[in-house]
Symmetry: C2
Subunit: 255 residues, 2 copies
Amino acid sequence: MDDPVLLTGAGGNVGEAILGGIGDEYDWRLMFHSPPADEPDHEYLVGDVTDDETVQAAVDGVSAIIHLAGDPRPSAPWKSVLSNNIDGTQKMYEAAVEHDVERFVYASSNHAVGAYETDERTPEMYRPNDEFRLDGTELPRPGNLYGVSKATGEVLGRYYHDEHGIKVCNVRIGNLTEGHPPIDYERGQAMWLSYRDCAHLHECTLEADYDFEIVYGISDNERKYYSLERAKDVLGYEPMDNSAEWDGDERVDAN
Amino acid sequence: MDDPVLLTGAGGNVGEAILGGIGDEYDWRLMFHSPPADEPDHEYLVGDVTDDETVQAAVDGVSAIIHLAGDPRPSAPWKSVLSNNIDGTQKMYEAAVEHDVERFVYASSNHAVGAYETDERTPEMYRPNDEFRLDGTELPRPGNLYGVSKATGEVLGRYYHDEHGIKVCNVRIGNLTEGHPPIDYERGQAMWLSYRDCAHLHECTLEADYDFEIVYGISDNERKYYSLERAKDVLGYEPMDNSAEWDGDERVDAN
């Protein structure tokens, strides 16, 4: 791509994983909510996704958007997710179609489907031999209002794709950690996403050909209950990590 | 039910159909957005769904809510549906769980899935022998921002059901008309909902036993592309009307 790729929410850990892995592969424009502590290596701006002027300036001239910005707290109050996540995402989409942006990658979340983890299914569903799988075709089932806002972001993408033709990929991001997977936390190990898999997956979302997708963003964990089929088939995602290769903070089965 | 049933958006045509058909069957509390022209036959209040005090007063002491209020225009701007439909519905659910309301019937819309009506499928899908069916298990696919807001209302219901146990029924209402079905409008005939079927369906949503449902609210039209299976099986819905029984504004095949 010749035109820059806009990365919103660039100060968060997903942004850090992406820039750490594929920071040299694209011409980035970063959008931060607060001024970054260190001078970024890329063009950047600071502002709020609910502010029209900032959004216009951010989107003008980019070929693609990776939209990570929003209130990332699973316990965030309704007022905040309504404004930052729902309204902010709509504003970003509206600007994207106005500026003929080709593709929009949306950071959805495991919380959009968190309530599938019922008392009857857990903890068995977090274990290697359990066959329960979510594959992105299921209806949203959020476990909190943050998850409601993420499911709404996906629906906004469906609308903007259908109505305006923009390519949309929703990535239901799992439990992203740098280094080792979560310790003593079966659920986190099941939905672990390593930094390098996160970066590679987002590179796939910028390169692959698709119309509208909902994929799960996790490593190829033995414990997984999210299917990686769409991500592999449509995006060409080839995850390198698996939480089963770790014992606590030590890698025991090197890749 | 001994406690009243709250009907919001009581001044609209869905409210009119419900009250016209089952107005005598329940102890109603009506909520209007603007003062009604004629004195209602039931207890009522006037106010906005985004106003906390009005919502608290409306919900206190009711056994069930039929939530019709919101901006009903398919072309409504984002700002309006964000506030009136999305935020208003969340406020109503929040009050419902706070006041231990047993069930919440939500007026969703055919517009939550309007973009399934693609150029390739139409107009064939509106015709009697076409086999395309939506049944409520498909992902939302709104054709406008109003539809996005309705899909979000459904997801809010999923969350409040899963988290708080309130019974939730989402009714994707079709094309409601009093008297004859739409004329020279195949789509409208396919998703026609007669006034009496509308009233009966809503009675079913107040009486049946269910957890969380998404059903289509249409008459038993020969042209239909919405399945009535869930409404019939779970709610006991027995529609009496069918747009094929009409030739323009005349009933030709009386029921």
